[in-house]
């Protein structure tokens, strides 16, 4: 049990820190949230800079432009980018955190060559088309149909909650290739977002942003060579995607959250006497408590990173990290809102209080226990797959209609 970073890790940290301290201020402030072209340019521009400096894809293989770094370098990377408040991964989230890793683990050599380096350089932005209006938590109910026509799949259906669809070039798409089977009839495809037949309708989130969209697919032609894994094997492939999505994907956000708690300390100390002030012992303890929870969470990430470094794929324990992290995030941001008092009624900063940032975070927090598998689904996974408790009885399939003779 050794928590020491190696000398090599520390050298890496020093270089990265010097680079970040120069480049982060130079990259400027992010554009307005609803200006998608500008956001794409800002986020991918940053990705390109990371790539040119050798800091994109820390743990990705060298042959695709990655650094082939150790899992601990990955941790150092997260610690450092959060420390200097580097630009958020933004539109590169899906490609960098689960699309690319899924292709590295499951893709064909051609698929890897065609996409992995381009994700790293920021040339390719990815989105995820898994959920459907009738298939959210029950993803196996998805209905988007794919039928083979020569060397293409022809795909029709309706996807929803597709984050960054407006800015994406490619999509991790789950389609139904066997209408009879449930989870065994699903296939994982790479969809070019510029294909004819795709219509994107942005949805407004409760925070007022256009983070995700509905995507309508009308006879979209996707080459069979874009299939990742075998036909009808998509359920297994998507499990790989999920492991990455739920694993250390939130690592840098966790460290941001640590900084957020420190900022709340500053905020309470500015008016030590008031009802939201530092001299309130219960409030002080609450802040100390959050900080202790965050430290424990980070230790948990280290444990799970060291564990998954053996297999290359995060374990099911990632569900425990996600569950704890997202709940803690909500408790901390809710507390932040309480500190604002009546200033929380305004999304603009008033009276010198940082309403904008605190409210933006607290609203974002509401999505964390829903996206990437709800907390209830994570609990099902833990109780059934880790603790071995009996599965909920599934309803019997409806009786087949009697055949009229």
């Amino acid at each position: 049990m050794d928590l020491r970073y190696s000398e090599k890790d520390e050298e890496f940290r020093a270089d990265l820190r010097t680079w970040l301290e120069r480049e982060v201020p130079a990259h400027g402030a992010p554009p307005p949230v609803n200006d998608w072209p500008a956001r794409r340019a800002y986020d991918t521009g940053w990705q390109r800079k990371l790539f040119d400096a050798g800091y994109a894809g820390i743990s990705w293989p060298k042959e695709y432009g990655g650094r082939d770094g150790s899992p601990t370098e990955q941790l150092v990377y997260y610690e450092e980018i959060a420390r200097v408040n580097a630009p958020y991964i933004g539109v590169n989230f899906v490609g960098m955190l689960h699309g690319g890793p899924t292709l590295i683990a499951e893709g064909t050599p051609e698929q890897k060559k065609c996409h992995v380096p381009q994700i790293l350089t920021g040339e390719q932005v990815w989105c995820q088309g898994f959920s459907e209006p009738g298939a959210g938590s029950d993803l196996a109910a998805l209905a988007t149909r794919a039928e083979v026509d020569g060397d293409h799949y022809v795909v029709s259906g309706h996807k929803i909650w597709c984050s960054f669809a407006q800015a994406a070039d490619y999509c991790e798409l789950l389609v139904r290739t066997d209408p009879e089977a449930k989870s065994r009839g699903i296939t994982w495809l790479i969809m070019d977002m510029n294909s004819p037949g795709i219509e994107i309708r942005p949805l407004r989130t409760l925070a007022g942003e256009g983070e995700f969209s509905e995507v309508f697919l009308d006879n979209v032609r996707i080459p069979v060579s874009n299939r990742v894994g075998k036909e009808n094997d998509g359920w297994r492939v998507k499990e790989v995607t999920f492991r990455f999505e739920r694993g250390a994907a939130f690592a840098s956000d966790m460290i941001h959250l640590k900084q957020f708690v420190s900022e709340l300390v500053d905020l309470t100390r500015r008016a030590p006497e008031g009802p939201q002030g530092w001299n309130d012992r219960a409030l002080r303890r609450q802040l100390g408590h959050f900080s202790a929870e965050l430290d424990a969470l980070w230790a948990m990430v280290k444990l799970s990173v060291c564990e998954s470094s053996k297999t290359g794929i995060p374990g099911v324990g990632a569900s425990a990290v996600k569950l704890f992290y997202t709940d803690l995030y909500q408790r901390i941001t809710e507390f932040g809102v309480r500190l604002l008092g009546r200033a929380a009624l305004s999304r603009d900063d008033v009276a010198g209080l940082p309403s904008e940032r605190i409210l933006a975070r607290s609203m974002q927090a509401l999505s964390l226990t829903i996206a990437a598998g709800t907390s209830q689904i994570q609990r099902n996974i833990i109780s059934e797959r880790i603790l071995g408790l009996p599965r909920e009885p599934r309803p019997a399939p409806p009786p087949r209609p009697a055949v009229e003779s």
Binding site: R285, H289, D295, A296, M300, F324, L387, L389
Partner: protein
């Protein structure tokens, strides 16, 4: 960095676990009520197992392991709520002759926290008192102490001491401070063991108890409770391991923060998981017969040793504020 158990550590853990399974099985806990939570022969066996001299250098006849290893051992002892002044006797190994071998049973107390309640007084050969000025040795037989008729934890007898004598100073303030941190870490390990054991008991019962024609463990409300217990256990494990590793290698982080975090998180994990375990057991859970209550009561005892949740939270907050100066 390899924040995982190595082969030796896995073997160490396995060894202590199988000792506890054989020597302190779950259904033996009640028998400790008759011996006021202490059993000399068990104490000697624990000493032979290396529980007290684990971190003593090999040159001094110890096992020569680190605090991270001690965390693993104490988590196993916590799983069986093994009674006795385990942490204090372990801490005393380098300070009091005979503690490392189990010949001298050493207890301890934070002298400046009122009321002064001494655990296991009647079994002690030596009592240590921690003060800001250092570590003091007191002869337990010289204490004027009133026995508490009904201690919360039936396996942790208590005496109330109105006037604690000064005792003989055997170490300075730095040692006192180090013992506090190590004590908090080992208490965290015991609490982690409690969080683990109560989840295990809940799982076992929920798979076998049936209502509405199926095991209660198949009801989602029950499953989600146990999933939450698992999360608490895993966070506590990460925090307790990190505290041990940080004490062994202070360069890896802030010791006060790592230890404070472990004590806070593992106390909560133990308290919540033993409470949830009682809930999973339904009416049976509220009986004396089902041993979960020993776990809950020990959690309360340990939460109040070497700094409570609130005390550590406050300390962490002040450290945060200092860091912002």
């Amino acid at each position: 960095m390899d924040f995982q158990l190595d082969e030796d550590q896995l073997a160490l853990r396995e060894g202590v676990r199988s000792f506890c399974d054989g020597r302190v099985p779950l259904d033996s806990l009640a028998s400790f009520e008759e011996t006021a939570g202490f059993d000399r022969s068990l104490w000697t066996e624990l000493a032979e197992l290396g529980v007290f001299n684990l971190r003593e250098p090999e040159s001094a006849g110890g096992v020569g392991l680190g605090t991270a290893d001690a965390v693993l051992v104490f988590a196993e002892l916590g799983r069986r709520v093994v009674p006795g002044p385990l942490v204090w006797s372990h801490l005393a190994a380098g300070l009091v002759k005979g503690a490392a071998t189990g010949e001298t049973v050493v207890g301890g107390v934070e002298a400046d926290i009122e009321p002064v309640l001494v655990e296991h007084l009647e079994s002690l050969d030596v009592l240590l008192a921690l003060r800001d000025t250092g570590v003091f040795r007191i002869d337990p037989r010289e204490l004027e102490a009133a026995a508490i008729a009904t201690p919360l934890d039936p396996l942790t007898p208590l005496h109330h001491v109105a006037n604690l004598p000064a005792g003989e100073k055997i170490a300075g303030p730095e040692v006192a401070q180090r013992l506090r941190l190590e004590g908090a870490t080992l208490a965290s390990a015991l609490l982690l063991g409690i969080a683990e054991a109560t989840l295990e008991m809940a799982l076992e019962y929920s798979k076998q108890r049936e209502q509405f024609g199926r095991p209660i463990g198949s009801f989602q409300a029950m499953k989600h409770m146990m999933a939450d217990m698992f999360v608490k256990q895993e966070v506590a494990r990460a925090a307790a391991y990190a505290a041990g590793a940080t004490l062994d290698q202070p360069s890896v982080g802030d010791i006060d923060r790592a230890v404070g975090s472990a004590k806070i998180i593992s106390s909560e994990a133990a308290l919540r998981n033993s409470g949830a375990c009682i809930q999973v057991h339904g009416g049976m859970g509220f009986t004396w017969e089902v041993p979960v209550h020993y776990y809950l009561k020990r959690s309360w005892v340990l939460e109040n040793c070497f700094g409570s949740i609130d005390e550590h939270s406050e300390r962490v907050a002040i450290a945060l504020a200092d860091a912002r100066e």
